[in-house]
Symmetry: C2
Subunit: 206 residues, 2 copies
Amino acid sequence: MPSLPTTSQRLTDRKRSAIIEAAIDEFRVAGYETTSMDRIAARAEVSKRTVYNHFPSKEVLFAEILHHLWEAIAGGEELAYRADRPLRDQLLELIAQKFRLLNDDAFVSLARVAIAAGIHSPERALDMVARMSEREEGLTVWIRAAAADGRLKTSDPVFASHQLQGLIKSFAFWPQITLAQPPLDTAAQKQVAESAVDMFLAYYAV
Amino acid sequence: MPSLPTTSQRLTDRKRSAIIEAAIDEFRVAGYETTSMDRIAARAEVSKRTVYNHFPSKEVLFAEILHHLWEAIAGGEELAYRADRPLRDQLLELIAQKFRLLNDDAFVSLARVAIAAGIHSPERALDMVARMSEREEGLTVWIRAAAADGRLKTSDPVFASHQLQGLIKSFAFWPQITLAQPPLDTAAQKQVAESAVDMFLAYYAV
DNA sequence: CATAAACTACACTACGCAGTGTAGATATTT
DNA sequence: AAATATCTACACTGCGTAGTGTAGTTTATG
Protein backbone atom coordinates (compact mmCIF):
# COMPACT_ATOMS: atom_id res chain seq x y z
CA MET A 1 0.00 0.00 0.00
CA PRO A 2 1.91 3.07 -1.16
CA SER A 3 1.18 6.35 0.59
CA LEU A 4 0.00 7.97 -2.64
CA PRO A 5 0.10 11.67 -1.75
CA THR A 6 -1.60 13.96 -4.23
CA THR A 7 1.63 15.58 -5.38
CA SER A 8 3.27 12.36 -6.59
CA GLN A 9 2.09 9.66 -8.87
CA ARG A 10 4.02 6.58 -9.78
CA LEU A 11 7.58 6.30 -8.48
CA THR A 12 9.02 6.48 -11.96
CA ASP A 13 7.25 9.77 -12.59
CA ARG A 14 8.58 11.27 -9.40
CA LYS A 15 12.07 10.15 -10.31
CA ARG A 16 11.73 11.66 -13.74
CA SER A 17 10.58 14.99 -12.31
CA ALA A 18 13.40 14.99 -9.79
CA ILE A 19 15.91 14.44 -12.58
CA ILE A 20 14.50 17.24 -14.70
CA GLU A 21 14.39 19.61 -11.76
CA ALA A 22 17.95 18.80 -10.76
CA ALA A 23 19.12 19.12 -14.34
CA ILE A 24 17.56 22.57 -14.63
CA ASP A 25 19.31 23.70 -11.47
CA GLU A 26 22.66 22.32 -12.55
CA PHE A 27 22.55 23.50 -16.14
CA ARG A 28 21.42 26.91 -15.08
CA VAL A 29 24.26 27.56 -12.68
CA ALA A 30 27.01 25.62 -14.41
CA GLY A 31 26.12 25.61 -18.09
CA TYR A 32 26.08 22.62 -20.39
CA GLU A 33 29.74 21.76 -20.52
CA THR A 34 30.56 21.89 -16.84
CA THR A 35 27.48 20.04 -15.67
CA SER A 36 28.02 16.33 -15.23
CA MET A 37 25.49 13.55 -15.27
CA ASP A 38 26.87 12.33 -11.93
CA ARG A 39 26.12 15.67 -10.33
CA ILE A 40 22.61 15.70 -11.74
CA ALA A 41 22.02 12.19 -10.43
CA ALA A 42 23.35 13.11 -7.01
CA ARG A 43 21.25 16.26 -6.80
CA ALA A 44 18.13 14.38 -7.88
CA GLU A 45 18.96 11.70 -5.26
CA VAL A 46 18.73 9.13 -7.96
CA SER A 47 21.05 6.51 -9.29
CA LYS A 48 23.05 7.54 -12.31
CA ARG A 49 21.71 4.49 -14.08
CA THR A 50 18.18 5.73 -13.54
CA VAL A 51 19.07 8.98 -15.27
CA TYR A 52 20.22 7.01 -18.27
CA ASN A 53 17.15 4.82 -18.12
CA HIS A 54 15.04 7.93 -18.57
CA PHE A 55 17.27 9.88 -20.94
CA PRO A 56 19.61 8.14 -23.36
CA SER A 57 22.21 10.90 -23.37
CA LYS A 58 23.20 14.24 -21.92
CA GLU A 59 22.20 15.91 -25.16
CA VAL A 60 18.71 14.49 -25.02
CA LEU A 61 18.32 15.44 -21.38
CA PHE A 62 19.40 18.96 -22.20
CA ALA A 63 16.94 19.22 -25.06
CA GLU A 64 14.24 17.91 -22.75
CA ILE A 65 15.07 20.64 -20.24
CA LEU A 66 14.77 23.32 -22.88
CA HIS A 67 11.45 21.90 -24.01
CA HIS A 68 10.22 21.63 -20.44
CA LEU A 69 11.11 25.23 -19.61
CA TRP A 70 9.54 26.44 -22.82
CA GLU A 71 6.29 24.73 -21.93
CA ALA A 72 6.40 26.18 -18.44
CA ILE A 73 6.60 29.76 -19.66
CA ALA A 74 3.49 31.75 -18.95
CA GLY A 75 1.64 32.25 -22.21
CA GLY A 76 0.67 35.74 -23.30
CA GLU A 77 -2.82 36.41 -24.60
CA GLU A 78 -1.90 38.65 -27.54
CA LEU A 79 -3.35 42.04 -26.68
CA ALA A 80 -4.98 43.47 -29.79
CA TYR A 81 -4.92 47.12 -30.87
CA ARG A 82 -7.97 49.09 -29.82
CA ALA A 83 -8.79 52.28 -31.68
CA ASP A 84 -10.96 53.53 -28.83
CA ARG A 85 -8.35 53.54 -26.08
CA PRO A 86 -5.33 55.79 -25.37
CA LEU A 87 -2.08 54.54 -26.84
CA ARG A 88 -0.28 55.01 -23.57
CA ASP A 89 -2.59 52.72 -21.65
CA GLN A 90 -2.42 50.02 -24.27
CA LEU A 91 1.37 50.17 -24.49
CA LEU A 92 1.68 50.03 -20.73
CA GLU A 93 -0.40 46.90 -20.75
CA LEU A 94 1.75 45.34 -23.42
CA ILE A 95 4.83 46.18 -21.40
CA ALA A 96 3.27 44.81 -18.25
CA GLN A 97 2.70 41.58 -20.12
CA LYS A 98 6.33 41.61 -21.14
CA PHE A 99 7.36 42.07 -17.53
CA ARG A 100 5.33 39.06 -16.53
CA LEU A 101 7.47 37.07 -18.91
CA LEU A 102 10.68 38.72 -17.74
CA ASN A 103 9.84 37.95 -14.14
CA ASP A 104 9.03 34.35 -14.93
CA ASP A 105 11.66 32.16 -13.36
CA ALA A 106 11.30 29.51 -16.01
CA PHE A 107 11.85 32.08 -18.73
CA VAL A 108 14.98 33.52 -17.16
CA SER A 109 16.36 30.05 -16.60
CA LEU A 110 15.66 29.11 -20.16
CA ALA A 111 17.22 32.23 -21.53
CA ARG A 112 20.32 31.89 -19.40
CA VAL A 113 20.83 28.26 -20.26
CA ALA A 114 20.07 28.76 -23.93
CA ILE A 115 22.29 31.80 -24.34
CA ALA A 116 25.13 30.29 -22.40
CA ALA A 117 24.93 27.09 -24.41
CA GLY A 118 24.32 28.76 -27.73
CA ILE A 119 26.70 31.67 -27.55
CA HIS A 120 29.26 29.66 -29.43
CA SER A 121 27.00 27.49 -31.54
CA PRO A 122 24.55 29.84 -33.23
CA GLU A 123 22.70 27.06 -35.00
CA ARG A 124 21.54 25.76 -31.64
CA ALA A 125 20.52 29.21 -30.48
CA LEU A 126 18.81 30.14 -33.70
CA ASP A 127 15.76 27.96 -33.22
CA MET A 128 15.37 29.40 -29.73
CA VAL A 129 15.62 32.95 -30.98
CA ALA A 130 13.15 32.22 -33.73
CA ARG A 131 10.59 31.09 -31.18
CA MET A 132 11.38 33.97 -28.86
CA SER A 133 10.79 36.34 -31.73
CA GLU A 134 7.32 34.92 -32.30
CA ARG A 135 6.59 35.80 -28.72
CA GLU A 136 7.77 39.33 -29.36
CA GLU A 137 5.72 39.76 -32.47
CA GLY A 138 2.65 40.85 -30.56
CA LEU A 139 4.11 44.29 -30.02
CA THR A 140 5.06 44.63 -33.67
CA VAL A 141 1.54 43.73 -34.74
CA TRP A 142 0.11 46.28 -32.34
CA ILE A 143 2.42 49.02 -33.63
CA ARG A 144 1.56 48.20 -37.22
CA ALA A 145 -2.13 48.45 -36.42
CA ALA A 146 -1.69 51.78 -34.63
CA ALA A 147 0.31 53.11 -37.56
CA ALA A 148 -2.31 51.93 -40.03
CA ASP A 149 -4.88 53.72 -37.88
CA GLY A 150 -2.87 56.91 -38.29
CA ARG A 151 -1.98 57.31 -34.64
CA LEU A 152 1.71 56.41 -34.89
CA LYS A 153 4.08 57.75 -37.51
CA THR A 154 6.47 54.96 -38.40
CA SER A 155 7.10 53.11 -41.61
CA ASP A 156 9.04 50.35 -39.90
CA PRO A 157 7.06 48.69 -37.10
CA VAL A 158 9.68 45.98 -36.59
CA PHE A 159 12.34 48.58 -35.98
CA ALA A 160 10.16 50.62 -33.67
CA SER A 161 9.17 47.54 -31.72
CA HIS A 162 12.80 46.60 -31.36
CA GLN A 163 13.54 50.06 -30.03
CA LEU A 164 10.86 49.93 -27.39
CA GLN A 165 11.97 46.51 -26.31
CA GLY A 166 15.54 47.72 -26.11
CA LEU A 167 14.41 50.34 -23.64
CA ILE A 168 12.98 47.58 -21.45
CA LYS A 169 15.47 44.79 -21.89
CA SER A 170 18.50 46.86 -21.14
CA PHE A 171 17.14 47.16 -17.59
CA ALA A 172 15.09 44.04 -17.10
CA PHE A 173 16.66 41.35 -19.23
CA TRP A 174 20.33 41.61 -20.09
CA PRO A 175 21.58 42.38 -16.59
CA GLN A 176 19.61 39.41 -15.29
CA ILE A 177 20.94 37.11 -18.00
CA THR A 178 24.56 38.11 -18.10
CA LEU A 179 25.09 39.15 -14.51
CA ALA A 180 22.48 37.07 -12.72
CA GLN A 181 20.99 40.24 -11.33
CA PRO A 182 17.68 39.94 -9.48
CA PRO A 183 14.52 40.97 -11.34
CA LEU A 184 13.40 44.57 -11.03
CA ASP A 185 11.14 45.43 -8.12
CA THR A 186 7.71 46.87 -8.76
CA ALA A 187 8.76 50.49 -8.45
CA ALA A 188 11.64 50.08 -10.85
CA GLN A 189 9.40 48.25 -13.30
CA LYS A 190 6.96 51.14 -13.19
CA GLN A 191 9.68 53.69 -13.84
CA VAL A 192 11.22 51.70 -16.68
CA ALA A 193 7.86 51.00 -18.31
CA GLU A 194 6.41 54.50 -18.09
CA SER A 195 9.60 56.20 -19.12
CA ALA A 196 10.00 53.88 -22.09
CA VAL A 197 6.42 54.33 -23.25
CA ASP A 198 6.50 58.10 -22.82
CA MET A 199 9.76 58.39 -24.71
CA PHE A 200 8.43 56.15 -27.43
CA LEU A 201 5.24 58.14 -27.80
CA ALA A 202 7.05 61.48 -27.65
CA TYR A 203 8.77 60.40 -30.83
CA TYR A 204 6.23 58.28 -32.66
CA ALA A 205 2.80 59.60 -31.66
CA VAL A 206 1.26 61.79 -34.36
CA MET B 1 73.02 35.17 -38.41
CA PRO B 2 69.26 35.25 -37.86
CA SER B 3 67.13 36.75 -40.59
CA LEU B 4 65.73 39.39 -38.23
CA PRO B 5 62.68 40.65 -40.17
CA THR B 6 61.11 43.78 -38.80
CA THR B 7 57.88 42.08 -37.77
CA SER B 8 59.53 39.54 -35.44
CA GLN B 9 62.02 39.94 -32.69
CA ARG B 10 63.44 37.13 -30.69
CA LEU B 11 62.10 33.67 -31.32
CA THR B 12 60.58 33.47 -27.87
CA ASP B 13 58.58 36.65 -28.50
CA ARG B 14 57.22 35.33 -31.74
CA LYS B 15 56.24 32.10 -30.05
CA ARG B 16 54.51 34.00 -27.30
CA SER B 17 52.55 36.09 -29.78
CA ALA B 18 51.58 33.01 -31.75
CA ILE B 19 50.25 31.38 -28.58
CA ILE B 20 48.22 34.41 -27.60
CA GLU B 21 46.82 34.79 -31.08
CA ALA B 22 45.89 31.12 -31.28
CA ALA B 23 44.37 31.25 -27.80
CA ILE B 24 42.18 34.20 -28.76
CA ASP B 25 40.93 32.38 -31.83
CA GLU B 26 40.19 29.21 -29.92
CA PHE B 27 38.61 30.80 -26.87
CA ARG B 28 36.49 33.04 -29.03
CA VAL B 29 34.93 30.28 -31.06
CA ALA B 30 34.87 27.53 -28.47
CA GLY B 31 34.69 29.25 -25.10
CA TYR B 32 36.80 28.54 -22.07
CA GLU B 33 35.67 25.05 -21.18
CA THR B 34 35.79 23.43 -24.58
CA THR B 35 39.12 24.90 -25.61
CA SER B 36 42.06 22.64 -24.86
CA MET B 37 45.68 23.55 -24.38
CA ASP B 38 46.63 20.93 -26.98
CA ARG B 39 44.48 22.64 -29.58
CA ILE B 40 45.97 26.01 -28.76
CA ALA B 41 49.47 24.59 -29.05
CA ALA B 42 48.64 22.95 -32.37
CA ARG B 43 47.09 26.10 -33.78
CA ALA B 44 50.07 28.18 -32.68
CA GLU B 45 52.38 25.58 -34.25
CA VAL B 46 54.18 25.33 -30.97
CA SER B 47 54.97 22.52 -28.61
CA LYS B 48 52.54 22.11 -25.78
CA ARG B 49 55.46 22.34 -23.40
CA THR B 50 56.29 25.75 -24.80
CA VAL B 51 52.80 26.93 -23.98
CA TYR B 52 53.33 25.88 -20.40
CA ASN B 53 56.77 27.47 -20.35
CA HIS B 54 55.12 30.79 -21.15
CA PHE B 55 51.91 30.41 -19.15
CA PRO B 56 51.77 28.30 -16.01
CA SER B 57 48.12 27.33 -16.43
CA LYS B 58 45.07 27.60 -18.63
CA GLU B 59 43.57 30.09 -16.19
CA VAL B 60 46.56 32.38 -16.43
CA LEU B 61 46.60 32.16 -20.20
CA PHE B 62 42.94 33.03 -20.29
CA ALA B 63 43.45 36.02 -18.02
CA GLU B 64 46.32 37.12 -20.23
CA ILE B 65 44.04 36.95 -23.27
CA LEU B 66 41.45 39.11 -21.57
CA HIS B 67 44.09 41.62 -20.60
CA HIS B 68 45.56 41.59 -24.10
CA LEU B 69 42.20 42.23 -25.73
CA TRP B 70 41.40 44.96 -23.27
CA GLU B 71 44.62 46.74 -24.13
CA ALA B 72 43.89 46.41 -27.84
CA ILE B 73 40.56 48.18 -27.60
CA ALA B 74 40.51 51.55 -29.22
CA GLY B 75 40.48 54.18 -26.48
CA GLY B 76 37.81 56.85 -26.47
CA GLU B 77 38.76 60.50 -25.94
CA GLU B 78 35.93 61.49 -23.57
CA LEU B 79 33.88 64.05 -25.46
CA ALA B 80 33.01 66.89 -23.10
CA TYR B 81 29.70 68.78 -22.99
CA ARG B 82 29.70 72.00 -24.94
CA ALA B 83 27.10 74.65 -24.08
CA ASP B 84 27.54 76.35 -27.46
CA ARG B 85 26.64 73.42 -29.69
CA PRO B 86 23.32 71.70 -30.50
CA LEU B 87 22.56 68.73 -28.29
CA ARG B 88 21.74 66.56 -31.27
CA ASP B 89 25.15 67.00 -32.87
CA GLN B 90 26.96 66.31 -29.66
CA LEU B 91 24.92 63.20 -28.93
CA LEU B 92 25.45 61.89 -32.44
CA GLU B 93 29.16 62.27 -31.92
CA LEU B 94 29.00 60.39 -28.65
CA ILE B 95 27.05 57.62 -30.34
CA ALA B 96 29.48 57.55 -33.24
CA GLN B 97 32.25 57.05 -30.73
CA LYS B 98 30.26 54.22 -29.22
CA PHE B 99 29.90 52.62 -32.63
CA ARG B 100 33.64 52.74 -33.13
CA LEU B 101 33.94 50.61 -30.05
CA LEU B 102 31.10 48.31 -31.09
CA ASN B 103 32.73 47.77 -34.47
CA ASP B 104 36.09 47.03 -32.91
CA ASP B 105 36.89 43.39 -33.49
CA ALA B 106 38.94 43.16 -30.33
CA PHE B 107 36.07 44.54 -28.31
CA VAL B 108 33.52 42.12 -29.71
CA SER B 109 35.87 39.22 -29.15
CA LEU B 110 36.49 40.30 -25.61
CA ALA B 111 32.83 40.75 -24.86
CA ARG B 112 31.89 37.40 -26.35
CA VAL B 113 34.60 35.53 -24.50
CA ALA B 114 34.01 37.37 -21.25
CA ILE B 115 30.25 36.98 -21.30
CA ALA B 116 30.40 33.36 -22.33
CA ALA B 117 32.92 32.60 -19.62
CA GLY B 118 31.34 34.76 -16.97
CA ILE B 119 27.69 34.08 -17.53
CA HIS B 120 27.78 31.48 -14.81
CA SER B 121 30.46 32.92 -12.56
CA PRO B 122 29.42 36.50 -11.83
CA GLU B 123 32.50 37.27 -9.76
CA ARG B 124 34.65 36.81 -12.85
CA ALA B 125 32.35 38.90 -14.99
CA LEU B 126 31.95 41.64 -12.42
CA ASP B 127 35.40 43.10 -12.81
CA MET B 128 34.88 43.18 -16.57
CA VAL B 129 31.54 44.89 -16.25
CA ALA B 130 32.99 47.39 -13.83
CA ARG B 131 35.61 48.38 -16.36
CA MET B 132 33.09 48.41 -19.19
CA SER B 133 30.95 50.74 -17.14
CA GLU B 134 33.81 53.18 -16.76
CA ARG B 135 33.96 53.30 -20.51
CA GLU B 136 30.26 54.04 -20.61
CA GLU B 137 30.45 56.77 -18.03
CA GLY B 138 31.33 59.40 -20.59
CA LEU B 139 27.73 59.57 -21.75
CA THR B 140 26.43 59.85 -18.21
CA VAL B 141 28.79 62.70 -17.49
CA TRP B 142 27.68 64.48 -20.63
CA ILE B 143 24.00 64.09 -19.74
CA ARG B 144 24.61 65.35 -16.22
CA ALA B 145 26.35 68.42 -17.60
CA ALA B 146 23.56 69.10 -20.08
CA ALA B 147 20.98 68.73 -17.33
CA ALA B 148 22.94 71.08 -15.06
CA ASP B 149 22.99 73.52 -17.92
CA GLY B 150 19.21 73.36 -18.06
CA ARG B 151 18.98 71.87 -21.52
CA LEU B 152 17.86 68.38 -20.51
CA LYS B 153 15.15 67.63 -17.99
CA THR B 154 16.20 64.55 -16.08
CA SER B 155 16.99 63.98 -12.44
CA ASP B 156 18.63 60.64 -13.10
CA PRO B 157 21.46 60.86 -15.64
CA VAL B 158 22.53 57.28 -15.04
CA PHE B 159 19.06 56.04 -15.90
CA ALA B 160 18.77 58.24 -18.95
CA SER B 161 22.18 57.19 -20.18
CA HIS B 162 21.23 53.57 -19.75
CA GLN B 163 18.10 54.16 -21.80
CA LEU B 164 19.95 55.73 -24.69
CA GLN B 165 22.48 52.95 -24.68
CA GLY B 166 19.70 50.39 -24.64
CA LEU B 167 18.39 51.93 -27.85
CA ILE B 168 21.79 51.35 -29.45
CA LYS B 169 22.87 48.06 -27.95
CA SER B 170 19.71 46.21 -28.74
CA PHE B 171 20.65 46.62 -32.41
CA ALA B 172 24.41 46.83 -32.41
CA PHE B 173 25.64 44.81 -29.45
CA TRP B 174 23.46 42.00 -28.13
CA PRO B 175 22.69 40.41 -31.50
CA GLN B 176 26.40 40.41 -32.27
CA ILE B 177 27.31 38.92 -28.91
CA THR B 178 24.64 36.31 -28.51
CA LEU B 179 24.02 35.40 -32.13
CA ALA B 180 27.36 36.23 -33.70
CA GLN B 181 25.60 38.60 -36.07
CA PRO B 182 27.77 40.82 -38.26
CA PRO B 183 28.18 44.46 -37.21
CA LEU B 184 25.70 47.00 -38.59
CA ASP B 185 26.52 48.55 -41.91
CA THR B 186 26.91 52.31 -42.17
CA ALA B 187 23.33 52.98 -43.23
CA ALA B 188 21.90 50.93 -40.40
CA GLN B 189 24.21 52.64 -37.93
CA LYS B 190 22.98 56.00 -39.13
CA GLN B 191 19.35 55.00 -38.77
CA VAL B 192 19.84 53.51 -35.31
CA ALA B 193 21.88 56.46 -34.06
CA GLU B 194 19.65 59.23 -35.39
CA SER B 195 16.44 57.54 -34.38
CA ALA B 196 17.79 56.91 -30.89
CA VAL B 197 19.00 60.46 -30.42
CA ASP B 198 15.81 62.01 -31.77
CA MET B 199 13.67 59.82 -29.55
CA PHE B 200 15.83 60.62 -26.58
CA LEU B 201 15.66 64.35 -27.19
CA ALA B 202 11.93 64.28 -27.93
CA TYR B 203 11.51 63.14 -24.35
CA TYR B 204 14.33 64.80 -22.44
CA ALA B 205 15.06 68.08 -24.25
CA VAL B 206 13.56 71.09 -22.43
C1' DC C 1 83.11 28.34 -30.88
C1' DA C 2 81.27 27.64 -26.44
C1' DT C 3 77.69 28.39 -23.31
C1' DA C 4 73.12 29.38 -21.97
C1' DA C 5 68.38 29.85 -23.11
C1' DA C 6 64.44 28.39 -25.40
C1' DC C 7 61.97 24.94 -28.13
C1' DT C 8 60.44 20.09 -29.32
C1' DA C 9 58.86 15.38 -29.14
C1' DC C 10 57.09 12.19 -26.29
C1' DA C 11 55.90 9.60 -22.59
C1' DC C 12 53.40 9.78 -18.50
C1' DT C 13 50.25 10.82 -14.29
C1' DA C 14 45.96 11.95 -12.47
C1' DC C 15 41.49 13.00 -13.02
C1' DG C 16 36.77 13.67 -14.44
C1' DC C 17 33.26 12.48 -17.43
C1' DA C 18 29.81 9.99 -20.72
C1' DG C 19 27.96 5.89 -21.06
C1' DT C 20 27.31 0.56 -20.17
C1' DG C 21 26.59 -3.96 -17.84
C1' DT C 22 25.04 -6.61 -14.05
C1' DA C 23 23.12 -8.57 -9.99
C1' DG C 24 20.12 -7.71 -6.52
C1' DA C 25 16.65 -4.74 -4.00
C1' DT C 26 12.22 -2.30 -4.20
C1' DA C 27 7.94 -1.02 -6.07
C1' DT C 28 3.81 -1.84 -8.96
C1' DT C 29 0.46 -4.52 -11.12
C1' DT C 30 -2.44 -8.52 -11.80
C1' DA D 1 1.44 -14.15 -3.84
C1' DA D 2 3.56 -14.09 -8.22
C1' DA D 3 5.20 -11.66 -12.08
C1' DT D 4 6.95 -7.56 -13.93
C1' DA D 5 8.82 -3.05 -14.14
C1' DT D 6 11.87 0.10 -12.09
C1' DC D 7 15.52 1.60 -9.10
C1' DT D 8 20.18 1.07 -6.92
C1' DA D 9 25.04 0.21 -6.06
C1' DC D 10 29.05 -0.57 -8.19
C1' DA D 11 32.43 -1.81 -11.18
C1' DC D 12 34.20 -0.83 -15.56
C1' DT D 13 35.53 1.03 -20.45
C1' DG D 14 37.13 4.63 -23.17
C1' DC D 15 38.26 9.09 -23.91
C1' DG D 16 39.83 13.78 -23.47
C1' DT D 17 42.28 16.97 -20.78
C1' DA D 18 45.52 19.70 -17.47
C1' DG D 19 49.83 19.55 -16.28
C1' DT D 20 54.83 17.50 -15.64
C1' DG D 21 59.43 15.37 -16.54
C1' DT D 22 63.08 14.45 -19.59
C1' DA D 23 66.41 13.99 -23.11
C1' DG D 24 67.81 16.03 -27.06
C1' DT D 25 67.69 19.75 -30.72
C1' DT D 26 67.65 24.50 -32.16
C1' DT D 27 68.57 29.40 -31.45
C1' DA D 28 70.75 33.31 -29.37
C1' DT D 29 74.79 35.54 -27.16
C1' DG D 30 79.50 36.73 -25.54
